[in-house]
Amino acid sequence: MIGTLSGGLLGTGVAPVVPSSYESIATANVGSGGTSSIVFDLSAVSGYKHLQLRYIVRNSLSLGYFDGIFFYFNTDNSDSNYYRHSIQAEGAGSPGAYAYNALPIITYPANNQLTNTFCGGVIDIYEYQNTNKTKTVRLLEGIDINGAGADLLRSFMWNSTTAINKITFERSGYGFAQFSQIALYGIKD
């Protein structure tokens, strides 16, 4: 696993903007060898009210069935500043509902699980630049590996009114396998 992958930004040479309410901002594609983290720098992004991240992800580690990688905003990676709630299906077992005072998380299959199989998901970040509101996030994701799987609906709260200028996906010792992809979109009013 190597280094950090940047989703990029877009300061120079940007094509003329065509009016639309939903636009692609940047995409992180994980190459051979994987990556330990993915970062989206939003400092040069403007004109959007909400953000959406769409992804397919797989753990670079061969560890268990499913696990998770955290994400956080700006430089705040303190569990105590985030709240996480979820309802989920865990295969054929009973549904679960959970609440934690912890960093937001996305789930992915371990690298020794069904070959070429990824978790798909969508994250919505509402009013990410509003400095009068704490930040609310919704996540819908799912994994199926033919015989085991999970459906996850989650909400997160970042207990801060600071505008979001960076999104970082990382967890110590974990990473993303090759062909993982996270795409960032902006949504206007």
């Binding site: 901002i25 009973s94 199989t117 990824f118 033919n146």
Partner: protein, 165 residues
Amino acid sequence: MAVTYDPLSTTTLTSNQANITFDISSTPNQSYTDLIIICNVKMSGANENNNLQFNNVTSGGYYSVTRLYGNGSTYSTNLSSSQDQMQLGEMSTTGSTDVIQIFNYSNTNVNKTVISTGGQTGGFMKITTGLFRQTSAITSVKLFPGSGNYGIGSTFTIFGIKAAS
């Protein structure tokens, strides 16, 4: 910034119909990252599941699903492996919606993951994750109820979402 989230086609049924197929094999329709299909359905006969098959693959057990659902008073989960179709949202005779998201449909390095979120006026809701255990690019999507027909007036719209390269 790249403009995206384009409507590719919409079909409104003028007669009861047993299935609908989207042909997305053309070059422009292979240039998106994800697909979203919004099904707004009234079944003509009885309530039924909304099923999906890709690329005319109808055998071999290449599909599997994991479901989380509620019927207004209870909730549960289940999964089905090695199926010949993905069994997604629950369609009703009084009205139902199934939003089907197909991730990285043209990426030949990955099996295809699908998330369906569906609800119907009878009070049934379902989140389904589906897997198609093939790395081939998706060139066609067939939707069909478990039995019976989609009713007149049902609509099916497919959108393409393109990520920045």
